[in-house]
């Protein structure tokens, strides 16, 4: 994501980045996946593949996460939630699109109810094709991501953002409708009972 103002990384940022590179904490988000990729993510945490030997740890909240593992083709209902989860993740943050659906929409690429890929909503740093992805492919992607990124040299936004970010406007209009409690989804607003 292009932020307008950036500052140079301080010593504290460098330390955070250094630690994040050696022990990325991941949050798993399902945005309408068939559960194939979700099970592969869980699979990679089992003793057989054991991503924890690389310091990868599954966390419960985006506020603790460094890397978001997003599965699924992003349904219209999930899109604003995905955006919110992304905004709640502290920087530096990285997004991995896990699976064919998250990468390009896959078999759901032209459906009316999906947006066709995570990059339609939030910026993605690494795509993993595969249906479902092999646990080794997931390890490979995390490895490639952390090798490629200079986490301790990353440019950070000048100020912490407290309000809803302007990037919300990049969502399709009807997808945003459900995100704001003050403006309910179109169908409810018009009194459509379904």
């Amino acid at each position: 994501m292009t932020t307008t103002q950036t500052r140079k990384p301080t010593l504290k940022d460098r330390l955070t980045g250094w630690a994040g590179k050696r022990s990325p904490w991941v949050l798993h988000i399902n945005t309408g996946s068939c559960n194939g990729c979700d099970i592969e993510i869980v699979d990679s945490l089992t003793p057989r593949f054991d991503v924890e030997r690389f310091g990868v740890r599954l966390v419960d909240t985006p506020r603790h996460a460094d890397v978001l593992l997003v599965t699924g083709p992003v349904t219209r209902q999930m899109a604003p939630r995905l955006k919110r989860l992304y905004d709640q993740t502290p920087e530096p943050r990285y997004v991995i699109a896990v699976g064919t659906c998250a990468t390009s929409g896959g078999v759901f690429h032209s459906h009316y109810n999906t947006l066709g890929g995570v990059d339609q909503v939030i910026p993605v740093d690494m795509y993993i094709p595969g249906c479902p992805v092999a646990p080794e492919a997931l390890i490979d992607a995390i490895y490639k991501l952390l090798e490629g990124e200079d986490l301790d040299e990353a440019e950070l936004p000048a100020e912490a953002r407290l309000e809803r970010p302007e990037s919300m406007e990049s969502l399709p209009e009807d997808a945003i409708a459900g995100a704001d409690e003050e403006s309910p989804p179109k169908a409810i607003a018009e009194g459509d009972e379904r």
């Binding site: 740093d125 094709p129 490639k144």
Partner: protein
């Protein structure tokens, strides 16, 4: 369920000599099953350009176009492929095969598209 010491101790001793179960993946090659379906490999010398693979593809990952001068373009989008193997089954001349390659992760979406261009009469 209660823990019976008479069962736990023999199990613990057995586990001591069983070795590790964790695969040493990045250091060693993973043992994928023999019929693992990974990225497609295309042999353009065999292809006749009939387009059956593209018609059978459930994810629209394949696209075969034929120009008037006989130039055939075989376009494969790795990011959309679901590795079902339908194209491999369908191809009448066997020009498509599944490889065991699965380390496909990349940060550029444009790199996922592979194109082959060749001439046929």
């Amino acid at each position: 369920m209660s823990i019976v010491p008479g069962r736990v101790i023999p199990e613990a001793i057995r586990t001591l000599f069983r070795g590790r179960v964790t695969s040493r993946y990045p250091a060693e090659e993973p043992d994928k099953p023999e019929r693992f379906r990974g990225r497609l490999e295309f042999d353009e010398s065999k292809c006749t350009g009939c387009g059956l693979c593209a018609r059978n593809c459930p994810a629209d990952a394949l696209e075969v176009t034929r120009e008037e001068d006989g130039t055939i373009t075989w376009r494969y989008d790795v990011s959309r492929c679901i590795y079902c193997g339908q194209c491999v089954e369908t191809c009448p001349v066997g020009s498509i095969i599944n490889t065991k390659e699965f380390e496909l992760a990349g940060d550029e979406k444009g790199e996922f598209v592979r194109e082959h261009q060749f001439e046929r009469e």
